[in-house]
């Protein structure tokens, strides 16, 4: 699984990082991006799904399996 934050949609609600801090980084303005290349280790897949489901802007996509 791989995730990607759409920078045009992210508005910095910071829900993703609260739900799955292992998978996201914030810039100094609070906008989010996936860590490294967005690869999600097996044990974090559930957290990745939760981040997607809690993003109010639908800014996080699961790109591939």
């Amino acid at each position: 699984m791989r995730i990607k934050v759409d920078n045009d949609k992210c508005q910095g609600h910071n829900r993703c990082i609260t739900v799955a801090q292992e998978l996201f980084d914030l810039d100094e303005y609070g906008y989010s991006h996936e860590k490294q290349d967005g690869a999600v280790p097996k044990e974090l897949e559930e957290k990745a799904r939760l981040a997607v489901a809690n993003c109010p802007e639908r800014a996080i996509k699961i790109v591939s399996d």
Binding site: L26, Y29, N54, P56
Partner: protein, 406 residues
């Protein structure tokens, strides 16, 4: 101001109706079923979407829906109103970024985001915690308190005063001014403009002072900041400080109050939060969703038909984030408060480019306020549910809420 009885909520809604302020949820349910974008002529022409999809879509469409005046009703001078010297002095001071569109919004918002980041909030957690504890010390022996007035109301003005670098003894005065501007002032122009002048006069003194003697605080940060190599114009510093007071006090006070109102009546949720403190994050989000306090407005930039509604240039749209959060098309069992709701993409803090810049602060204050309350007062109930008073309009929450402990 019209006080005519409401004939039909779909064509004649009144956000100041006392029953609606107390319990707006049935009205939104009814509207979603038959006329999801309601209309009224009570304060000029305005529209109120009640579905998440519409509120969300309108929040993203900044071309047609401007933030030039985000108050839910036009605050217009009564006939014969004479401007005072202060009115003229502060003419044109806005409230950037909430009242800005376009590029002005972009830079005024970017200026504010770093000091309100998740990380910047860490420093304020112990300050907030100590303050909550001392508030509780003040009433715990009595076995009762007004959870809205003695607790919820006392937290946000104290913390924002500390952040701005203003004496925290001023926080009671701030609360009063903000209430006069945003709550009572929505239906009383003279009171609103007087309150605005008092806030701006006070802040202007503080800004002048910090320019001479900058410290480690938010006002000093704003007066020393530069944007594209230029210092921030004084008018903007003033407008932004004004916004921080006005946007940060009533709102957070209301959501802490509503959270305690819920917990006072739900022993099972209190017990869970006490036994499983790790549920506080989902708990706070759920209480924010279910009791979202803030409704903002947009102004139509041109005639535009949205979803079958023929909106005219100058019409207002009330962004009912609270109604969107109760939409069954977006949230399963929306009227149930589920303390560990795992999927909760609520928009209590808005959506799109105006997403609440203070959301990390508000969440922190709510979390700490509830943690400290539950640690000392795990068992409490409303003294008399009928005696709780609510404010509504722009910001909805309990204003007086006597509770008894144990």
């Amino acid at each position: 101001m019209t006080t005519e009885p409401i004939k039909d909520w779909a064509t004649d809604y009144d956000i100041f109706d006392p029953e609606y302020i107390k319990d707006p949820y049935p009205v939104w349910d009814e509207l979603r079923g038959k006329c999801p974008i309601a209309h009224t002529e009570r304060w000029g022409s305005s529209w109120m979407p009640t579905k998440h999809a519409d509120v969300y879509a309108i929040a993203q469409d900044v071309e047609h829906f401007s933030s030039a005046n985000p108050l839910v009703v036009p605050v217009v001078p009564p006939e014969g109103f004479e401007q005072t010297g202060d009115d003229q002095r502060f003419l044109g001071v806005g409230a950037p970024p909430i009242s800005s569109d376009g590029y002005e919004h972009t830079w005024t918002r970017r200026l504010l985001l770093p000091p309100f980041s998740l990380k910047s909030m860490e420093k304020w957690i112990p300050v907030t915690r100590a303050h909550c504890r001392s508030l509780i010390d003040g009433f715990i022996e009595n076995g009762r308190a007004d959870a809205a007035a003695d607790y919820a109301q006392q937290i946000p003005p104290y913390v924002i005063a500390k952040m701005l670098g203003i004496p925290s003894e001023m926080s009671g005065t701030f609360t009063q001014w903000v209430q006069e501007f945003l709550e009572f002032g929505l239906q009383n122009f003279a009171m609103a403009s007087e309150a605005r002048n008092k806030i701006l006069t006070f802040l202007w003194q503080q800004i002048t002072e910090k320019k001479k003697n900058p410290g480690d605080d938010l006002i000093s940060y704003l007066v020393q900041a530069d944007v594209d190599g230029e210092p921030v114009p004084d008018q903007h510093v003033l407008g932004t400080c004004f916004l921080l007071l006005v946007a940060g006090i009533d709102t957070t006070w209301s959501s802490i109050g509503s959270a305690l109102w819920h917990l006072a009546q739900h022993p099972e949720d209190r017990a869970r939060l006490v036994a499983e403190p790790e549920l506080m994050d989902t708990g706070v989000e759920e209480l924010l969703r279910a009791y979202a306090p803030v409704t903002m407005a947009r102004v139509l930039t041109e005639d535009y038909e949205y979803n079958g509604c023929k909106m005219a240039a100058g019409d207002k749209v009330l962004m009912s984030f609270p109604a969107a959060n109760r939409d069954p098309e977006r949230f399963k069992d929306p009227d149930k408060v589920i303390i560990d709701r795992a999927e909760n993409p609520h928009i209590a803090f808005g959506a799109g480019i105006h997403r609440c810049a203070g959301s990390n602060l508000a969440r922190m204050e709510m979390r700490v306020a509830l943690q400290e309350w539950l640690a000392r007062i795990p068992d409490f109930r409303l003294e008399d549910p009928e005696n709780v008073t609510w404010a509504g309009g722009q910001v909805r929450g309990p204003r007086s809420m006597p509770v008894v402990f144990g």
